[in-house]
């Protein structure tokens, strides 16, 4: 079979591309070696918190920040996408996650401060419903932080102490007797949380809580994308409860990833799991097929158009070979020289490192550029972390770039394959 669109990468960008291509009526294959870094992330979708070349204060309005970045930095993916497409994508992706059982807040007008397990605040835009009660916490609101004895990813007393130093009215309690599994991580707890366990937890919360308090818990509810578990807990507890993101394995990230995967499967996207894309083969001036490997087994996959959503260093979309950075599948240029020095002198520099901005450059249709500055292939599009010019870690813009570029690349690929109309 020759697919209309073959998407490489199963993260946020890849799933967005496959979903939007199939919405345009294209047959889509979603190729990957696993669920991507979405599983490891906080389950929020960052849009823009710290625009480049600004002082170290987060911005309030993410879409206005996207507009500003788009006008000032022509190399930034947002300059290609535009703020309207980003805003539209965010509503689109929250509609999809909600249909997959895991609703995100759809308020795009404002960045939110999400409390993390070490007492810092993460600045992000779309947050899962299970975080809502705890976002933008005002100092006057009394808090109860609940820990679980044996859960190693989360210390309620430490978090309470950090918050106290920041001036919050907060106390903590550690619950005993909840099974935490073999290794004491949140995934282990969540798996053995039955429905009756949720009721019991709710009743315990109801017993501990004082009037006026809201309750923060580590993410320990089941790993399925099903918000009903959380709603049930809130109902039984009779107070506002919120989840606090922890280290990987990250339950909210896993739920978001599963919700989108379910949407892909139900829209008819075919999953090619367990494969690593090795290289491509040309056919008539275009990319004709990909060579895929699963262990020693190799297989070719043919498609009319391709979307690379292969991620950055961690996912292997770009690799470091000696002192050069390469793109391993299509051998696209990375423009490393223009970005020297690659590293700032301070490791935790708020402006990030130039190495974080490396990736492939693209034209206005998201087609990666070749060595001569023109699109390398007319039927190849790029999306997500692989795009040059943005630094997801320093700017907190990874989710917005991934979802928006994924959706647009998927649409453009579908159009190039002769399906639907161009946006």
């Amino acid at each position: 079979m020759i697919y209309d669109v073959a998407v490489i990468g199963m993260g946020l960008a890849g799933m967005s591309a496959a979903l939007s291509a199939s919405e345009m009526g294209a047959t889509a294959a979603l190729i990957g070696s696993g669920p991507g870094t979405l599983n490891l992330a906080s389950g929020c979708i960052d849009v823009m918190a710290y625009p480049p070349n600004q002082d170290n204060l987060p911005v309030d309005d993410p879409i206005a920040a996207v507009r500003q970045v788009a006008s000032e930095f022509s190399e930034h993916p947002y300059a290609i996408l535009g703020d309207k497409a980003v805003a539209k994508t965010l509503s689109w992706i929250s509609a999809h996650t909600a249909a997959g059982g895991w609703p995100l807040s759809s308020d795009l007008s404002k960045n939110h401060r999400v409390l993390t397990a070490v007492g810092r605040f993460k600045i992000t835009c779309l947050v899962p419903e299970s975080y809502l009660a705890g976002i933008d916490l005002p100092l006057y609101k009394p808090l109860l932080i609940l820990g679980i004895s044996g859960l190693r990813d989360f210390s309620a007393p430490m978090l309470a102490e950090v918050l106290q130093m920041k001036g919050y009215k907060v106390r903590s309690t550690v619950l005993q007797g909840i099974p935490v599994g073999f290794q004491g991580h949140s995934l282990g707890v969540s798996r053995f949380f039955s429905e009756s366990g949720i009721k019991q937890l709710g009743l315990q919360i109801r017993g501990f809580v004082r009037p006026g308090e809201i309750v923060g818990i580590p993410p320990i509810l089941p790993p399925m994308p099903d918000i009903q578990y959380f709603r049930e807990l809130q109902k039984v507890a009779g107070v506002e409860v919120f989840e606090i993101p922890t280290l990987p394995p990250s339950l909210p990230g896993i739920r978001l990833s599963k919700a989108l995967r379910a949407r892909c499967v139900s829209s008819g996207v075919e999953l090619w799991e367990g494969v690593h894309a090795l290289s491509m083969e040309e056919s008539g001036g275009k990319i004709g097929s990909l060579l895929l490997a699963a262990g020693p087994n190799q297989r070719k996959l043919q498609a009319k158009t391709f979307v690379m959503a292969t991620g950055s260093y961690l996912s292997g979309g770009i690799r470091v070979k000696g002192d050069t950075v390469i793109e391993p599948i299509f051998d696209l240029p990375i423009n490393q020289k223009e970005r020297m020095p690659l590293f700032s002198t301070s490791f935790l520099s708020s402006s990030g490192h130039n190495a974080g901005k490396l990736g492939v450059g693209v034209d206005s249709s998201l087609r990666p550029l070749g060595k001569n500055g023109r699109p390398a292939w007319e039927n190849l599009f790029a999306a997500g972390d692989i795009l040059a010019g943005h630094d997801p870690l320093a700017e907190r813009c990874g989710g917005g770039v991934a979802a928006s570029s994924g959706r647009i690349a998927g649409m453009n690929a579908a159009v190039a394959a002769g399906k639907g109309k161009k946006s």
């Binding site: 079979m1 294959a29 070696s33 696993g34 669920p35 991507g36 870094t37 599983n39 490891l40 099974p179 599994g181 073999f182 290794q183 991580h185 995934l187 282990g188 798996r191 053995f192 790993p223 990987p248 394995p249 896993i254 995967r261 379910a262 499967v265 075919e270 999953l271 090619w272 799991e273 367990g274 494969v275 690593h276 895929l292 490997a293 699963a294 262990g295 020693p296 087994n297 297989r299 996959l301 961690l314 996912s315 292997g316």
Partner: protein
């Protein structure tokens, strides 16, 4: 007198797989079906790359929980860093086995090809005994083979004798393919093998079925690499010369395909098996290729059918996409939903052991629940183990995609 054929002895299992690329990302921990339902197993990351740090290359693994790895390979399938997690665990099992030996149930079930040979020779008695509750309970007490787990019934005539006098078509234009049928087709469902040959011939393939042995996937799964090596060697001896002169080596069972094309070279270090890897193709991909190449229009289904497709873990491990879904969806009258509900829980012989029965059922619950929710006419899956498990859990008929195709003609 028959000459005694010497089988070279298998290399000793050495835990020498590189685990350094593991960045501890925890993606495999979420994907492991066993860790999902029991906290007796620490999960693939800790059992594999983490524990490997503390095992010398020739050391025995002292952790009994390694026996709870079902060898479904889900961890290896999802690893973004290309760490052969399942291979590490199987080698650890092999070394653990050298120390503790196998339980009776493990020994019997992993040698199912021998048991089945015997069972098929006495099919009527064997089938009757397997249906008898008392005998199954007795077998559970005596051997540890679960009294409730699904076991396949034996056919009255083996596949190899069914096709003994078969005339190989003389179509010189077609592809020449070698069909590896596996033990299940040989002893339990020869009719399925006949359907496969019929479909291949219908779509322009000359099918040869050389003598063959069990693929050994069950032996690899329990860490009996020496016995598996013997089977690999025999399969090579019996089939290599035929495969050399053929276009493809075709499989209808993903687990057999995985054993011959990946486990022989990667785990058993039987490097001659590269010829299997190079020539292999799964049945549905080959049929799809032939249907497209010949421009055949598949007839529509006789009556509208609602199908649910279950993706076998070993099919995912092959990295071939979902060829059966593509072919079946192209048939008019077939409404097919992909379940995508994870592992069925049987994992070959894992779920047939009485000690693993509860874990197996708990794993399969998600698949069963999704099937109840969809209420399809039939469930479709390439893997014979998955089909047995799904039938026994839900009572829904479970078919190989070839059976659905064959019914069209």
């Amino acid at each position: 007198m028959k000459a005694i054929r010497l089988v070279p002895s298998a290399p000793e299992p050495v835990a020498d797989i590189m685990f350094d690329p593991c960045v501890k990302c925890t993606i495999c921990m979420e994907a492991c079906p066993v860790a999902r339902v029991t906290d007796s197993f620490p999960g693939p990351k800790m059992a594999g790359p983490d524990a490997q740090r503390f095992r010398g290359r020739f050391e025995q693994s002292t952790d009994n929980w390694i026996e709870l790895c079902s060898s479904c390979r889900s961890c290896q399938t999802v690893c973004p860093s290309n760490v052969p997690i399942a291979d590490i665990n199987i080698l650890a099992k092999a070394r653990h086995r050298m120390q503790t030996g196998s339980s009776m149930a493990t020994a019997i079930l992993s040698h199912a090809h021998l048991v089945a040979k015997f069972g098929a020779s006495f099919a009527p008695i064997a089938n009757k005994s397997m249906r008898s509750k008392a005998i199954r309970l007795f077998a559970e007490k005596l051997f540890g083979v679960s009294a409730h787990a699904p076991l396949p019934s034996f056919a009255s005539k083996k596949f190899s004798s069914e096709i003994k006098n078969r005339i190989i078509s003389n179509d010189r234009d077609g592809l020449t393919v070698v069909y590896f049928h596996g033990c299940y087709t040989e002893n339990n469902r020869p009719d399925l093998g006949l359907m496969v040959i019929d479909l291949l011939e219908r779509f322009g393939c000359r099918v040869q079925v050389p003598g063959q042995n069990c693929c050994g996937v069950a032996l690899v799964g329990v860490g009996d690499l020496k016995s598996a090596y013997r089977l690999a060697y025999r399969n090579y001896k019996k089939m290599a010369h035929v495969i050399e002169n053929s276009d493809y080596l075709v499989f209808a069972s993903p687990s057999c395909q995985l054993a011959l094309t990946a486990e022989y070279t990667e785990l058993l270090h039987f490097h001659k098996a590269r010829i299997f890897t190079e020539k292999s193709i799964d049945l549905m991909s080959l049929l799809e290729h032939q249907i497209e190449a010949k421009g055949v229009q598949l007839p529509s289904a006789q009556k509208p059918m609602k199908l649910a497709y279950h993706t076998a873990c070993h099919l995912k491990a092959l990295g071939i996409g979902l060829p059966a879904v593509r072919v079946l969806r192209s048939i008019e009258g077939i409404d097919l939903t992909v379940l995508d509900a994870g592992c069925c829980g049987l994992a070959g012989t894992f779920g047939m052991k009485a000690v693993n029965r509860d874990i197996s059922l708990a794993i399969g619950k998600a698949v069963a629940d999704r099937i109840y929710e969809l209420n399809p006419d039939m469930v479709v899956s390439e893997c014979e183990g998955c089909r047995m498990m799904i039938e026994s859990m839900t009572g829904k008929p479970a078919m190989h995609p070839a059976e659905i195709l064959a019914a069209l003609f």
